[in-house]
Symmetry: C2
Subunit: 191 residues, 2 copies
């Protein structure tokens, strides 16, 4: 038998991509198996249910995010650079065939996805907001950022706007996404 190396990881990659492209209700096991060149049942062997598969995607993303923010490449950046790194995640999504944020995609379908998956999405969303809030606070105390309100509120605004902008760019083009990122920077950076 020809072994595809690390099928499990390849399945996760394809599922992540499909979630960002079509949404949870917009893709099927057949989309994955056909791209992988295997049968549907092979996917079920690795991930018994669609919920298991999507949960594994989010869990992996949460691990990845934790590794990133604790790695010196991000940890040691100054607040402005950290914010730019954050925006670059989403710029890369946009550049990659107009993908949207996993969190946004799944929250848009929140009332038609399994319960366990909702919990994972909630966890990821919280973790990202906590980091963004801390970064905004750090930047304001260092005099690099300037904004009204609490870092928590500002973090919620920035995150939700980027999430929304990725979606909006699908209908109105990449410029809209870039506009939102630039406007966010102008609204927070000290001139």
């Amino acid at each position: 038998m020809v072994k595809i190396e690390n099928s499990k990881r390849t399945i996760l990659n394809l599922a992540e991509s499909l979630l960002q492209d079509k949404g949870f209700n917009g893709f099927s096991y057949a989309d994955i198996s056909s791209q992988l060149g295997v049968k549907n049942a092979a996917i079920h062997y690795h991930f018994p249910s669609k919920e298991d598969l999507a949960c594994a995607v989010i869990q992996r993303y949460r691990e990845r995010f934790k590794l990133w923010i604790n790695n010196s490449r991000v940890k040691d950046l100054n607040p402005e650079e950290k914010l730019n790194w954050f925006f670059s995640i989403y710029s890369n999504f946009r550049a990659d065939n107009g993908k949207v944020c996993l969190v946004g995609s799944l929250e848009a379908e929140f009332n038609s996805i399994p319960e366990g998956l909702r919990k994972e999405v909630e966890g990821l969303n919280k973790e990202m907001l906590v980091w963004l809030e801390a970064t905004l606070n750090e930047g304001r105390e260092a005099g690099a950022f300037q904004f009204n309100g609490t870092p928590a509120s500002k973090a919620a605004l920035i995150y939700s706007s980027v999430q929304g902008a990725l979606q909006m760019a699908r209908a109105l083009g990449t410029k809209k996404f870039r506009d939102v990122v630039e406007q966010n920077k102008q609204d927070v950076l000290v001139a």
Copy 2:
């Protein structure tokens, strides 16, 4: 035969509600027919395809928005009141069982919805941005609003953030949505 008065309108209401609740790929004709107490085929009689149905929902919403903004109740408001009216649309969505914006819902699923529907979403999105941009411009010139960048960019930021915040509130609660609205106000209103 017992006539349900104005079935067509009731179907549109249910479809609009389902789109905001579950998304295009998250509801079926059966969801509508069961709530209406008719058979599936009755829905197909009024709207042959699911695309026809969803397009009709968006078309009606576009008409409604046009009527609203041209009605003196909104037209004659000052810029700050206009912005508050805009936010109130989404506060009402949130209060109504955590519904999200039609545009956001459909853009999240953009790559798995029919072509004709995409065009309608694009149209609605543009029309709302044009109004918001004009309102922001009007407010800035009147000295009621203060912000960096162009009214177009600021409009894109505000709209995408509200769209994203409705989705985020599903996972993290209504407070997050309110935070984003308040932060937006603080970032634009002259103190």
